[in-house]
Symmetry: C2
Subunit: 414 residues, 2 copies
């Protein structure tokens, strides 16, 4: 089945909102074997919506529309769909019950505008919204399907999981394609491609490779085509085994794995704990670790010692070390890690100190210079990195490098 | 001028990469008065690329293409454009010099694949890439413009700033439209719309309003049309003055302002400092504060006291308080704030303790319950919030609410 995604909203075309919905829907359709060939963003304009619907019905069998279902005046999708499908509005009591419940759970009364959101076109199947006020709308026309979903990402997400994907899955599908993405940390795209060139050149024609670089991480997406999904996955796994022999330390996970999840899972399995001491990463390392549900089982805490006095008072770094070596140095970052290890009583402590930029660089320690230390009882190691000039990317790359140091250490432990 | 953005890459259609480039380009074109009417994502397939180019040339005057210019095999954009515009490849020495320089700055030798990236179509104007290896390509055909840019966001961004926007700006423009976005914190969309309904209903026809909600923040975008940009902006500013009278405390900024920037700027101006003590936000509050360049002038640090023992050891919360009231309580969060204030010697300390979820909720303190305290010497206040069920959004909403408490306190100070 071929699908098309139409995202409606002026805010997308003036760049005020990033279209995360389209990516998420594309990913979910892809996972059940439906190929998205086009994603479009169009304005809140009924003429543009109608043209986009005509074009989509001409080339796709499933059309997913998001946006424009809100309670406010600028939301015109529902009325435009009514005209397009020749519908009248009827009041949908189950949707209204959910709207009232949502308001009650926040201790509030529903507004008249929200009550109107329970009105739906009479020739569609409504999809219940358990997380917001606008129901989804499922239309069918000449064997093709159009689904209109709210633009609020978590409302859309819940409706996809609960209704749209289960209903679409049972429609069957003739195309069998499988993907797997290998995640690598610590090497740039150009160097990686040279290291794995021979393997890449020898891939069979029904297996494709794509490089997806991000700051600090290069993802390798393998795509295979076969009679069955199982055969396609087998082929991919065979290729990945060969790849793993070429770059064993760099592969940290697959698909949507993150370094913080992988490292966290390993700590949990081995019943080990970690804490962090952060200067230039400013709490981002602790944030990534704690973004994983259940992180409290292995994460004890962090000292973000941004000011030098905090490095002395809260981590016990000596005044002399700071004066002699500076905050961005092997001696300081090791002292930070050891100080955190002791104060939190953890099995591991990660410490990061560097020049994130844009200011603070010197000829000896230019912007992008970062020291990372990993301390365990009786053993502290430190590594120097040289990242780029961009503050946000330096923070991100330093954090990922620290997590990878932790991952490799936990992998080797016991 | 009407523009269209074409984003090329299979990774966009299987939802592996979010199309941030299209949003950013749309925003930048919009700012110089160029209207983007369509954004499309299409696969790495030369037939699809050619069809998309035909359709775009039929309805737009400026076409921005991103992606597919990398050094690896799956990058086919340059060769497809060569066929489309009937070009031959020639070697571009200035681009090659930049490639060599980039590798040298990292202490590396260029690879043969990267050297080939300096080959450009002979009938385009190359745009130098100072941050990566693929030059941009500027084509003109029958008075229309096509620009092909790399898909790596910061390379694209630099090329837009340095070459594309300056060149497009001087092409002139007949449509005059202005936008301004008002940022509000602390009230949901449905309640806000009721509070400002009369104002909204009385907006003149040449002024439009759109609601752009996000977890914790509702943005109101005002759009005005006029003979000149100045007149349109004047009209918008007049409307915002009226709006400000209706919701004075909720408006924290405009456009791309962030609460962390606004609060940071105010602290800097008043020469005040802040520190944080975080439990459920896990370092995200410190991270947002330190994501602002120059934050070291007013941010001293944070204690992320995830484990209860860390609340005792590092923040001086008493064992008795924790036992009697629990970690998520007014007494604990106030003690955390006061402990941080003392240890960092700051003018303000923000503390956050709550149940981020998905686990840890109880009937008395369900997931989403969050206490936030703000301490200043001699004065500590605390507020209880009830957010939702989603871990990531609870962390984000708690952090934004804390920043807004800080902003209002600094605003009132002295």
């Amino acid at each position: 089945m071929i699908a098309e995604i139409i995202s409606i909203g002026d805010e997308l075309l003036i760049g005020q909102v990033i279209n995360t919905n389209a990516s998420r829907i594309a990913q979910q359709l892809h996972d059940i074997g439906i190929s998205v060939r086009h994603i479009r963003a169009i304005p809140d304009d009924s003429q543009e919506i109608r043209s986009a619907l005509d074009e989509a019905f001409a080339r796709a069998e499933v059309i997913l529309v998001t946006g424009g279902l809100g309670p406010t005046k600028d939301d015109i999708t529902k009325h435009t769909l009514c005209e397009y499908f020749g519908s009248s509005l009827i009041f949908h009591e189950p949707s209204h019950a959910l709207i009232k419940k949502l308001f009650a759970s926040r201790g509030l009364e529903e507004t008249e505008l929200n009550r109107k959101q329970a009105e739906i076109p009479d020739n569609c199947t409504p999809l219940l919204n358990h997380h917001g006020t606008a129901p989804g709308l499922w239309f069918e026309k000449e064997g093709k399907i159009l689904v209109s979903l709210p633009g609020v990402p978590y409302e859309m997400e819940a409706m996809m999981q609960q209704d749209v994907l289960p209903r679409l899955s049972i429609r069957g599908n003739d195309q069998v394609v499988a993907h797997k993405t290998v995640l690598t940390q610590g090497i740039g795209e150009s160097f990686l491609t040279v290291m794995i060139r021979e393997w890449e050149d020898n891939l069979p024609p029904h297996v494709k490779l794509a490089y997806l670089p991000q700051p600090g991480i290069v993802r390798l997406r393998l795509t295979a085509f076969a009679d069955t999904r199982e055969k396609a996955m087998e082929e991919i796994d065979r290729q990945i085994e060969t790849l793993r022999g070429l770059i064993p330390d760099m592969i940290f996970g697959f698909g949507n794995d993150t370094l913080e999840e992988i490292a966290g899972r390993m700590l949990k399995e081995k019943k080990l704990t970690v804490c962090t001491a952060e200067s230039c990463t400013g709490g981002y390392l602790a944030h990534l670790i704690t973004s994983v549900p259940g992180a409290s089982e292995y994460f004890l805490g962090s000292v973000v010692a941004y000011a030098n006095q905090a490095k002395i008072d809260l981590l016990g770094v000596s005044d002399v070390t700071l004066k002699q070596h500076g905050a961005v140095s092997e001696a300081t970052v090791k002292a930070m890690a050891e100080g955190a290890l002791k104060r939190f009583g953890a099995d591991y402590a990660l410490a990061v100190s560097g020049v994130a930029g844009p200011d603070g660089g010197t000829p000896e320690k230019p912007v992008g210079t970062v020291w990372i230390a990993l301390a365990a009882p009786g053993k502290t190691e430190a590594q120097k990195f040289r990242f780029g000039e961009h503050r946000g990317r330096n923070i991100r790359r330093a954090t990922l490098s620290a997590l990878n140091m932790l991952r490799l250490a936990v992998l080797d432990s016991r």
